[in-house]
């Protein structure tokens, strides 16, 4: 059956409402590599296949064991003995015919030995249940090739993710509680004129009750200025007085009782946010001061060219402000007044965007690139989101693991809460050490549990010593990690599967903000933590 755009729109409707058609397109152009199709791996892939990733390739040299089938939805017992990559690909592929599934019956170690450039073709590589040495080797290859790497593991009741990406820029971060961009503290000319056109005292009752609160606040601000030496209401007392001033403007009936004017109530309610000074956040300021922003070359990604263009705008045309966003919240008003006010902001936003566009053009010209290389649509989207730009830069695994650059401060200060998630991170590093020394994980077999406790403790101590970490790891955790026997319970793998897949989608679509850079899930307490290591 031919897959039409309409039928895909139907199937993906619920997610298109989150990342739009353009986000979906990025997803469908992506090719993700999964290393090791254990339960954690297949659960991650499931959550990428279902939303329609373009293609996936599983790299796995293991054969399916009975234990593998027991916790993995995408392995069946008649695949025992077969290569795990192949077996898992079949059942994952079956989830979504839009997706192209591939497998390589090979261990990642072999590929790193013989053909490390194999990994260069991928949009993102996800490494699951990797031994430390493989992880670091692969990490280095991907870092140098600038390919995002997501390390995931489930160890007993602990989930772990590490994102490794040099620099990830986000235009559409979709913040949950964004402040409006109303410019009431510094109204641009068109807004000033528009406010001027209102005569609150002279208008009829119906108009008065349906005037947008933005206009009301602006008008009363003017009044306040004239009575307070052109100063804004500054503290709580003054803001309350300002609210009272507005309240006095509510029409009164013949009897002298105030009429029901919801728009005035809205104005009063919104005074605090309306009086927020228009300014550029420190986050965005940092982005403006980024290296890439300063040296524009023909290799510079579009994000940085546009950032530079907006910076030029801020300094030359915007009076120190970003381009006007152009949106206003809904508010009590009649249609005409609202639409007219909305159009004032929209038109200003369009104007500002076209000035930014000129800057983009001249930047592109200066490095010999055609102006079409960055579309008007992209520039408009960028301007609309200028206040919400985010850049995520993760340290490499080499930096995390090297004694010279280990983040001692983060580890030590987090270990102040001895039962927080940081101790779980140290335990994971310790079991990796154990694996290096004994070629197995602690406590896999019942008889090993007791004797491995002291062996694991030696690993913990050597780890702490090597990194000069003056922290205490409680014996209980050493016991617990032996108890786990490197098991991968399905529910923990599934939690990780959902978490990791969404981070992968963020990387691919460049929407929403990925974590930076270490995430720990504790299924015992149902708590999580994120560390920057």
């Amino acid at each position: 059956m031919a897959v039409t755009k309409a039928s895909k729109d139907q199937k993906y409707d619920r997610q298109l409402r989150l990342w739009g058609d353009h986000g979906q397109e990025e997803l469908e152009n992506a090719h993700v590599c999964l290393i090791n199709s254990t339960a954690s791996g297949t659960e991650i892939l499931k959550n990428l296949v279902l939303p329609g990733i373009g293609a996936f390739t599983i790299v796995d040299g293991h054969t399916v064991s009975g234990e593998d089938v027991g916790n993995n939805f995408f392995l069946s017992n008649n695949s025992i003995g077969r290569n795990r990559a192949q077996a898992a690909t079949e059942l994952l592929q079956e989830l979504n015919t839009d997706v192209s599934g591939n497998f390589v019956e090979e261990s990642p170690e072999k590929l790193l030995d013989n053909d490390p450039e194999f990994f260069h073709r991928f949009t993102l590589v996800i490494g699951v249940q990797l031994p430390e040495s493989t992880c670091l080797r692969l990490g280095s290859v991907l870092w140098n090739a600038n390919i995002p790497f997501l390390v995931c593991r489930t160890y007993g009741l602990v989930g772990y993710m590490r994102l490794v990406v040099k620099e990830h820029t986000v235009i559409e971060s979709h913040p949950d509680n964004a402040l409006e961009d109303l410019r009431l503290d510094q109204p641009f000319a068109e807004l000033k004129n528009h406010i001027q056109s209102y005569d609150l005292e002279g208008m009829g009752k119906k108009d008065h009750s349906h005037t947008p609160w933005i206009i009301i606040v602006a008008k009363y601000l003017e009044k306040w200025f004239s009575e307070h030496n052109f100063q804004f209401p500054k503290n709580y007392k003054e803001k309350e007085a300002f609210k009272q001033l507005i309240r006095q403007g509510i029409l009164k009936s013949e009897k002298g009782t105030p009429e029901d004017e919801e728009n005035f109530e809205e104005a009063i309610k919104n005074v605090n946010t309306a009086l927020n000074p228009t300014k550029i956040s420190s986050g965005v300021d940092d982005i403006f001061n980024g290296e890439q922003c300063n040296d524009i070359t023909s290799q510079t990604p579009a994000f940085w060219v546009m950032t530079r263009a907006v910076r030029e705008f801020v300094h030359n045309d915007g009076g120190g402000n970003l381009p006007v966003r152009g949106s206003i919240p809904d508010m009590i008003a009649d249609s005409e007044k609202f639409i007219n006010l909305q159009n004032i902001y929209r038109e200003k936003a369009m104007q500002d965007a076209s000035v930014v566009s000129k800057h983009v053009e001249s930047l592109l010209q200066s490095v010999g690139k055609p102006s079409e290389s960055i579309s008007e649509q992209d520039i408009k989207l960028f301007c609309k989101n200028a206040a919400f730009l985010r850049v995520v830069r993760c340290r490499s695994l080499a930096e995390e693991y090297s004694v010279e650059t280990v983040n001692k401060d983060a580890i030590t200060s987090c270990m102040d809460s001895a039962d927080g998630e940081m101790v779980l991170y140290l335990m994971l590093r310790s079991v990796d050490r154990f694996y290096q020394q004994h070629s197995r994980y602690p406590g896999v077999y019942n008889y090993q549990v007791e004797e491995d406790i002291s062996k694991l403790k030696l690993c913990v101590n050597s780890l702490l010593q090597e990194y000069s970490l003056n922290v205490n790891v409680k014996d209980d955790y050493i016991h617990e990690f032996c108890r786990y026997g490197a098991s991968e319970p399905h529910t923990v793998a599934s939690f990780l599967g959902g978490s990791a897949a969404q981070e992968a989608i963020k990387i691919i679509t460049r929407q929403f903000v990925p974590f930076n850079n270490t995430f720990i899930y504790n299924a015992m307490s149902q708590t999580t933590a994120t560390f920057q290591l």
């Binding site: 139907q10 199937k11 409707d13 619920r14 997610q15 409402r17 989150l18 339960a39 659960e43 499931k46 959550n47 279902l50 939303p51 329609g52 064991s65 009975g66 234990e67 089938v69 027991g70 939805f73 069946s76 007993g156 009741l157 979709h174 913040p175 949950d176 809904d330 009649d334 249609s335 909305q342 019942n446 209980d476 955790y477 016991h479 617990e480 786990y484 026997g485 098991s487 991968e488 319970p489 399905h490 529910t491 923990v492 599934s494 939690f495 599967g497 959902g498 978490s499 897949a501 969404q502 929403f512 990925p514 974590f515 930076n516 995430f519 015992m524 149902q526 708590t527 999580t528 994120t530």
Partner: protein, 462 residues
């Protein structure tokens, strides 16, 4: 959780039930193979420093999960599919699933037990088939029904109930049902009558998972304020002052459709009928053009009419997994369960917040404290009705009020049956005194949000 006594009694009850219950049907051997349960055995057979105080490592715990433990999953949608998979791969074999819906194409991006060929079929049936086929030995029993179609005798048979619902009303009903199963002896709660309720909810990139021990920990209604009532657009905006594209769609849905009856007399708007949506879309565009409003798209139209909530596989996977982990913990006593509410949001990085939701002393559902209604004898019945629906802790939908007057049970107002609504409507504008109600009188209130009738005490103010 309260004190540690209760879980011990609970565990003893579980052992008792194990001995008494006869497990019916299903293939016992279920195609076992070596190592199948290795990943969970470590938690059942080995002692550890963080286990529940009552936990006793045993090779028999696995058998309890496999052969005896009975779990009910409510909902076979985004959370339900994940829950069934998670439970089946955690050793649970006796699982019932209830869902009243059929499969829609828009489910396929996350409800992974369904395929294109299954569209139109009952979710419960297809989900059960898939799991039973994929996980040898698992016996999921489907029920293509509403939760309200079952009574106490059905719910009583389960050890643990997990909800993956998309409706607050349904959650409250389930909450009420489990509360109604509680047995109090001389005012003391019999712990063996408690059925733990694990509840999960998701919306876009946000979700929450909670553990409820009815009668002991905060119930759904204790924290009703966490679910603020849905705000609809004011009628005057829709009727004469639209500003947003959504207002235009609501105008067509609520005002134009009943007026123009585009598909015939008595044909209501079917949100699932693309032809109906197309009509609404076109008319919405016309309305928008009238007011110079931009932004009406087919997708937006559909979203408003169907009250669509965006959804992805990943959030459902996370929340269901957290819930299933709790089911496992409680069934095996391996760890202390979540106490008792976890919130998740992965819009910016990954954020969780875990806290203990507190019981409300005078919770209308679980506190056993009779609810007072304070009204003046001259207040109209309409005011009482408004209070029942608007009060943040009650949030009833369409309450039916009855009272015993002159020894007879009298329906004061009921809106769910048209003929009775008509007959009792005049009572709304009568005062409580006129209706013959006395100070201290009991009013019985029934509503979709609870399977039990709630009793209120009428307290006259001067």
């Amino acid at each position: 959780m309260a004190d540690t006594d209760e879980p011990e009694k609970k565990r003893r009850r579980v052992v008792e039930l194990t001995e008494k219950m006869v497990v019916d049907g299903g293939s016992r051997d279920g195609g076992e193979w070596d190592g199948r349960w290795n990943h969970i055995n470590t938690f059942l057979e080995r002692p550890g420093p963080f286990t529940h105080p009552d936990f006793e490592p045993s090779t028999e715990s696995l058998q309890f999960l496999l052969d005896t433990c009975k779990i009910l999953v409510i909902g076979a949608g985004g959370l339900g599919c994940e829950l069934l998979k998670d439970l089946a791969l955690s050793g649970f074999r006796h699982i019932h699933v209830v869902d009243m819906d059929t499969i829609d194409v828009s489910n396929l991006n996350r409800q992974f037990l369904f395929r294109l060929k299954d569209v139109g079929r009952p979710k419960a049936d297809i989900a059960a088939d898939f799991i039973n086929g994929r996980i040898p030995g698992c016996n999921v029993v489907p029920h293509f029904k509403k939760i309200q179609d079952f009574d106490e005798s059905f719910y009583r048979q389960f050890h643990i109930i997990v909800c993956g619902l998309d409706s607050i009303i349904a959650r409250r009903w389930m909450n009420g049902m489990l509360l109604s199963l509680l047995v109090y002896e001389d005012g003391v709660l019999d712990p063996s009558s408690i059925i733990p309720l694990i509840d999960g909810g998701t919306e876009g990139f946000k979700g929450n998972a909670r553990v409820i021990f009815p009668g002991m920990t905060a119930c759904i209604d204790c924290t009703l304020e966490l679910y603020p009532p849905q705000i609809n657009f004011p009628m005057c905006t829709i009727a004469s002052m639209p500003r947003l594209p959504e207002h235009c769609v609501e105008y067509v849905r609520m005002l134009l459709w009943p007026k123009e009856k585009p598909f015939g007399d008595g044909v209501g708007l079917d949100a699932d009928d693309p032809e109906h949506i197309q009509w609404v879309y076109q008319k919405s565009q016309e309305r928008a053009a009238e007011f110079s409003i931009t932004g009406v798209t087919y997708r937006l139209t559909q979203g408003v009419v169907k009250r669509i909530i965006p959804a992805v596989a990943s959030t459902n996977a996370v929340i269901a997994a957290a819930c299933a982990t709790e089911v496992f913990k409680i069934a095996s006593s391996a760890y202390i369960p979540l106490n008792n509410y976890m919130v998740f949001n992965d819009v910016d990085g990954l954020y969780t917040y875990t806290f203990e939701a507190e019981r409300k002393e005078n919770c209308s559902s679980c506190s056993q404290v009779p609810q007072d209604l304070h009204f003046s004898p001259s207040a109209k019945l309409q005011e009482v009705l408004d209070y029942l629906t608007e009060n943040a802790s009650l949030q009833m939908k369409s309450p039916a009020i009855t009272a015993t007057l002159e020894g007879k049970n009298k329906t004061l107002y009921l809106q769910t049956v048209a003929s009775i609504e008509q007959r009792t409507r005049p009572n709304l504008s009568k005062s409580l005194k006129e209706l013959g109600l006395l100070d201290g009188q009991e009013l019985a209130v029934a509503d979709v949000t609870t399977p039990q009738t709630l009793l209120f005490k009428l307290s006259f103010t001067s």
